[in-house]
């Protein structure tokens, strides 16, 4: 009997950790960074962090859709590069609004292609990995081909730069766009048919198929949405840094996956939310910023990022086990 109560207590503790552990870690990072470097907790730096994370945050929101559906998208970084390059090249030709629309269309097309190819190969996580891995190479080299390997400068386009560098009052425009995108994504995931089907795909696509839902159509749509968010992120990023590079997005897909997993959305699908991803995005952004402020080199940051992804996944594995144990006990 004694053993049982102990394990029950432990179970409760574990459940709290698994549910809110991420917030404790976030708080710990902020406190440690604030103590080590006073520059970290200034208003300017916090605004900077928000500005920096909003472009990558868009990718993470797109990745949230994909991961909830039980897939993954490794081609996001390349899609970002391609959309950014296309957008900036098009501005002098067709004007800023149309150029942005074209970039968004490119993102949608790339995402849809991903979706179609993944559906053709069975729609599993494995096929999503390998297909988007191949697409990452193909689309990345397409971006390089478009600009011939060179960077494209956008410093001359004032109206384009306004998106990433302007602000309404003290709130940067990119942050506003990001917040709107998060609310929209959360609404779509929770309140629409598409959102609910997205969760169903991740839980059991066979059962979803048998309940009369057009699984293939919706799976393609998930990747289309991801492509759209990536293109939005590309426009925001290029406008913030006033240029587009064909290798700009390299590694961004990993940051996006890390942010989603850190936020607590499960690899393998079926659970998670855009709001959770925001926590992951903030955490990742704060961590990167804190490492920068502390003077850790970008090479060493890669080591930290790799370890963080592993730890986040391990923690998630543990929380699944804890939840299963709790479930078994109640049954």
């Amino acid at each position: 009997m004694g053993e049982k109560t102990v394990s029950k207590k432990r179970g409760k503790f574990d459940l709290i950790i698994s549910k809110y552990g991420i917030l404790f870690v976030l708080a710990a990072i902020i406190i440690v960074a604030g103590i080590i470097s006073p520059a970290f907790l200034t208003g300017q730096n916090i605004l900077n962090i928000l500005k920096q994370v909003s472009a990558t945050g868009m990718l993470a929101i797109g990745m949230t859709f994909v991961i909830i559906s039980g897939g993954v998208d490794l081609s996001m970084g390349s899609i970002l590069s391609l959309c950014g390059v296309v957008c900036v090249i098009m501005i002098p030709l067709v004007g800023t609004p149309l150029a942005i629309l074209i970039a968004l269309a490119v993102g949608v097309v790339c995402g849809t292609l991903n979706g179609i190819f993944i559906t053709l190969t069975g729609g599993t996580m494995g096929s999503a990995f390998i297909i988007t891995f191949g697409m990452a190479t193909a689309l990345g080299s397409l971006a390089l081909t478009v600009t011939n390997g060179a960077n494209v400068n956008a410093a001359a386009f004032a109206d384009f730069k306004e998106i990433g560098q302007g602000s309404w009052g003290i709130v940067p425009i990119t942050v506003v766009i990001f917040v709107v995108a998060v609310i929209a994504a959360q609404f779509v995931l929770r309140k629409t048919t598409f959102g609910r089907i997205n969760y169903c795909l991740g839980i059991n696509d066979e059962a979803t198929h048998l309940s009369g839902i057009k699984v293939k159509k919706f799976r393609v749509l998930v990747y289309t949405v991801a492509g759209l968010f990536t293109a939005l992120g590309a426009v925001m990023l290029c406008s913030r840094v006033s240029s587009a590079s064909p290798i700009q997005g390299e590694g961004y897909e990993l940051d996006a996956i890390a942010a989603v997993v850190l936020g607590g959305t499960r690899m393998g699908g079926g659970s998670g939310s855009a709001a959770k991803t925001v926590i992951g995005v903030l955490m990742f952004g704060i961590l990167t910023n804190a490492l920068n402020v502390m003077g850790v080199s970008s090479y060493q940051q890669m080591i930290v990022k790799g370890i963080i992804i592993m730890v986040a996944v391990l923690m998630d594995k543990r929380s699944i086990r804890v939840e299963n144990e709790m479930l078994a006990r109640t049954v």
Partner: protein, 324 residues
């Protein structure tokens, strides 16, 4: 009958592909058919080929490794750093063992903690890249050594030592896969993880070993590359994972696991090697070459998955990763 022909075509896609390339070159460039072209091709594919053999075993066992594209360049740098103090034979052994060690880390997380291999190797790929770039500060390291050069470039009738090692690996892989208990267990584990476990196979050890072999093979390939190029660089081998996976799948090794062979992977390597030779010959731009390489992966993977959609076929649907 039509079904049979399409089945045959799909199974021997790589042979047909090589045939088409040869016919194309017969018209476009008759002087392509020279002995030196063949030896050049073999030298070109040999180093990645060693990784491809190990990747074939891993894919048959139902796993996959992205981190080879970080282990290989790390090995070139370690080799360059250790060569002056340790001497050639010891350096090769030590670097290969370090590769095995890294593979064991991957293997531990996949086999014991049961995390999806893609995530594990993605994470280790980033972390190792960070370690490697910190180690060399982003700069290449020279490794000028005559005996090392001899090891890579010394040849008998145009067949270099590296190519011989590659052929050795192919034969060894084929023997292990077909003739040993371990090989049969790999097939069983990749074919159906649960059934293999119930049959008493130590599936965890099998999964673990797949990554240890891959790490060792990637490191060995790295040392041979350094011998040939006389330098280590963080930029070498970044495309190796994509290259060898497409070669294995082109050769007919199924990403679903449980099916494949090293000899067919060799054919896949030759096909991609020939394609790159031809691209260079007809002046296809480097970026365009990468684009086509990426496209090949997508096409090949789709083709690999298609038979499972045919009615009455004996193929398994594609699933990669831990069967949980």
């Amino acid at each position: 009958m039509k079904e049979k022909i399409s089945q045959f075509c799909r199974k021997n896609i790589v042979v047909i592909g090589i045939g088409i390339l040869l016919v194309f070159m017969a018209f476009a460039a008759p002087n392509y058919f020279a002995y030196s072209t063949l030896t050049g091709l073999l030298t070109q594919v040999a180093i990645y080929g060693i990784v491809a053999c190990a990747m074939t075993i891993a894919i048959i066992g139902g796993e996959f490794d992205l981190s080879v594209s970080s282990i290989l360049p790390l090995a070139t740098l370690l080799f360059a750093a250790m060569l002056p103090t340790l001497g050639l034979p010891l350096t090769i052994v030590v670097v290969t063992l370090i590769g095995v060690g890294i593979g064991c880390i991957n293997g531990f997380f996949v086999a014991i903690t049961k995390i999806n291999a893609f995530i594990v190797t993605l994470a280790t790929m980033i972390a190792i890249k960070g370690i490697m770039l910190t180690f060399c500060d982003g700069m290449p390291m020279p490794a000028v050594n005559e005996s090392a050069r001899q090891l890579a470039m010394g040849n008998v009738g145009g067949i270099t030592v590296t190519v011989m090692i590659f052929f050795g690996c192919v034969i060894l892989t084929e023997l292990v896969l077909r003739k040993t208990k371990y090989g049969r267990n790999v097939f069983a584990t990749g074919g159906n993880y649960d059934v293999a476990q119930y049959a008493g196979i130590n599936v965890r050890f099998i999964k673990f070993s797949l990554f240890a072999i891959l790490g060792g093979a990637a490191a060995l390939a790295g040392t041979l590359l350094t011998c040939r190029l006389q330098a280590g660089s963080p930029l070498y081998g970044s495309d190796v994972a994509l290259y060898v996976v497409s070669a294995a799948v082109l050769g007919g090794t199924s990403l679903a696991g449980g099916r494949g062979s090293a000899v067919r992977t060799l054919l896949g390597m030759l096909f991609i090697g020939m394609l790159l030779q031809i691209f260079t010959y007809i002046n296809v731009y480097t970026y365009m070459q990468q684009l086509i390489q990426g496209a090949i992966v997508v096409v090949v993977v789709i083709m690999d998955a298609l038979p499972s959609r045919k009615k009455g076929s004996d193929e398994e649907p594609v699933t990669v990763g831990n069967p949980e």
